[in-house]
């Protein structure tokens, strides 16, 4: 059992962090060139040069392109209208048609940004090429923004995800193990024997939960080592702070696990309930989707989500180098949560059947 507890989550960390990426790459790109001029070909060449697009086909007509999109053969279709070059030169203005497969809305948004960026860049070069010096006075003023990405300069997706996935692993393992543990004793009948002994409620519960606390801390340690060695995630903040927070956080999870096992009779029931809450907690934790973009009521609900605080703290401490005072609100809320959950769990645990 012990190797499974450690090996599986770490495999998960390595696989998930590498595979579950939000970066949209290898976009299947098709175009309809009705113009066939050097300008239109130059535009296509820009797409070809981009690492994000796989330029696949030159469609003869819009109907063929639509059919291909329907079949899922292309994700983005660019339509260059007739007289594209002529209009640009004469009227200094023209338009392009872009069709994006938006079944995955998030990906479609990203694809749109990429397409726009390429066309803008092309546009800028074009201005230099096409405009004659006499036009200089009428050239519009361009404002260019140069973004600077703090805390994750290269926008490395893994830097962002690894701390989050580590949170997920520590949570899942400790919640499932603790949730099923006491139920298992109920199932095998050992609990009945234990209940007739003079052992105190608190002694029994601490004895049951302490091993999982240790396992949780062990998982965090190994996860951090992997994050550093394999993913080279920056660790700006203090490690002891991270451990202090995690040790409190695991108490919350263990409390929830114990609470679940008090109200269930079989491991199946416990597993089902634990899954239900983990899925909600994970999806509402800001791990994959930003909490700021959730509806107001959902944002209020996330206040009760311990995983949210853990994700925040991990990212703040590891990537931003936040200190004790910065994470104090999260720390206090988690501590409060730990007291409440364990209080409820101990209160609802009965030594009688």
């Amino acid at each position: 059992m012990l190797p499974i507890i450690f090996v599986l989550p770490l495999l998960q960390l390595i696989i998930l962090s590498n595979a579950a990426t939000f970066e949209v790459k290898n976009i299947k790109f098709g175009y309809i060139d009705n113009d066939h001029t050097s300008t239109s070909r130059a535009l296509i060449a820009q797409f070809n040069a981009s690492a994000y697009f796989n330029v696949l086909t030159n469609f003869p007509s819009e109907a063929v392109a639509s059919a291909a999109m329907l079949k899922g053969e292309v994700d983005v279709v660019l339509e260059i209208q007739q007289y594209f070059e002529r209009d640009l030169q004469k009227e200094k203005h023209t338009s392009l048609g872009v069709t994006i497969n938006a079944i995955d809305g998030a990906a479609a948004g990203v694809e749109n940004v990429y397409v726009t960026q390429i066309i803008q860049r092309f546009n800028k070069h074009l201005k230099v090429d096409l405009f004659s010096p006499s036009d200089k006075q009428v050239q519009p003023i361009n404002i260019e923004t140069i973004p600077l990405f703090w805390y994750n300069e290269t926008l490395n997706y893994k830097t962002f995800m690894v701390p989050g996935i580590l949170v997920l692993l520590v949570t899942m393992i400790t919640l499932f193990l603790s949730g099923m543990n006491i139920v298992r004793e109920k199932e095998i009948g050992t609990l009945e024997q234990i209940n007739v002994t003079p052992i105190k409620k608190s002694q029994f519960i601490i004895g049951k939960l302490f091993p999982f606390w240790v396992i949780g801390m062990g998982l965090l340690t190994i996860g951090l080592i992997i994050a550093k060695l394999i993913f080279d995630v920056p660790m700006l903040g203090s490690l002891p702070l991270m451990y202090v927070y995690t040790s409190i956080y695991i108490l919350v999870v263990l409390g929830i696990g114990l609470f679940i096992s008090n109200f269930t009779d079989t491991q199946q029931q416990a597993m089902f309930i634990a899954w239900f809450f983990t899925v909600i907690f994970i999806l509402m934790s800001g791990l994959f989707t930003p909490i700021e973009s959730m509806p107001k009521w959902a944002q209020i609900l996330t206040e009760f989500n311990p995983i949210k605080y853990f994700v925040e703290v991990m990212r703040m401490v590891m990537l931003k180098g936040s200190g004790c005072m910065d994470i104090l609100p999260q720390l206090l809320k988690t501590l409060f949560y730990a007291v409440i959950m364990n209080g409820l769990a101990v209160w609802s645990y009965k030594k009688t059947t």
Binding site: G189, E192, Q193, I194, V196, I199, T352
Partner: protein, 300 residues
């Protein structure tokens, strides 16, 4: 008194498990609760071992009230549930050590109490409890229940699912424990084990039918009882059931236990009747009532 139960009642949602149960067990007595599955034996054990609250009535175990002084009771009773309830992934020795520790004692301290039993399983002390045979599991469970030198020992169907040889050994052990001044309350569905107890309570559907020594209970049997045998068992039972004067007909090993409703019963009449049913080798002889007969009669 080691155990004193007065007017205990308990019902689950719509099932009455125990109805107004009262009895007393003297110190050092081996008291048997005899009844079929579902009679309420386990419920009674759970109430007496403080695992369950009774709806009505009170009980005192080892001079402690089961509700008020439940903590003291847990220190002074040993309980062996019907289902094997030790840690299957611990070895014999680890289980024993574990239970000794939570009772705040050591194996050495009370070794003389469990010695007789423990030496039988000692050769396998490094084997996991889950890998033991049924009889060895029971011996280990008994050791664990005795490790803190309890005043009262509760054994819930300790011999169910155990082979006849181990059953006999187990009862011999109980007899020896009794000599060490431990009060034992044992439940069993086997009527033949009832005769090994000092006193027994016959229990059915949550009610006590009778409490007495096994000998007196048998003497209470109201009618002469006959062993009837013939060449065809099945037809014999059918014929006896169809006989107009029958009082009770129960198959009992190679015989049928038969009682008649008439006071002036003559076995020859029955023989003649059975002959008309084309049975041969008919033998009818009077026999002693057993606890099983008594139970069947009382449970009618």
């Amino acid at each position: 008194m080691s155990i004193s139960v007065s007017n205990i009642s308990k019902s689950y949602k719509n099932v009455t498990a125990l109805q107004d149960i009262s009895f007393e067990v003297k110190k050092g007595e081996l008291f048997g609760l005899i009844g079929p599955d579902g009679a309420g034996k386990t419920t009674l054990f759970r109430i007496l071992t403080t695992l369950l609250f009774a709806d009505k009535g009170s009980a005192i175990v080892a001079n402690y009230d089961v509700v008020k002084d439940y903590k003291s009771i847990r220190n002074s009773v040993g309980y062996m549930p019907g289902k094997f309830s030790l840690y299957q992934d611990l070895t014999i020795e680890e289980n024993l050590n574990f239970f000794a520790t939570i009772f705040g004692t050591t194996i050495e301290e009370n070794y003389d109490l469990i010695k007789d039993i423990y030496i039988q399983i000692a050769p396998f002390k490094d084997r996991k409890a889950g890998k033991l045979s049924g009889g060895m599991k029971q011996k280990l469970a008994l050791c664990c229940a005795l490790i803190h030198k309890p005043e009262v020992l509760f054994l819930d169907e300790p011999t169910t699912g155990v082979d006849p040889v181990s059953r006999k050994e187990f009862w011999d052990m109980l007899k020896r424990l009794q000599k060490k001044d431990i009060t034992i309350l044992v439940s069993t569905p086997y009527m033949d084990e009832a005769e090994l107890c000092d006193r027994i309570a016959l229990i059915q559907d949550g009610k006590i039918l009778e409490i007495d020594t096994p000998e007196s209970i048998v003497k209470h049997y109201p009618k002469p009882i006959y062993n009837v045998s013939a060449n065809n068992m099945y037809q014999l039972i059918n014929s006896l059931n169809a006989y107009e004067f029958n009082h009770s007909v129960y198959p009992f090993g190679e015989f049928v236990h038969y009682t008649d409703s008439r006071t002036d019963f003559n076995p020859e009449d029955l023989k003649a009747y059975l002959k008309t049913k084309k049975l041969s080798n008919i033998a009818i002889e009077i026999t002693k009532a057993t606890i099983e007969d008594t139970f069947m009669e009382l449970a009618k």
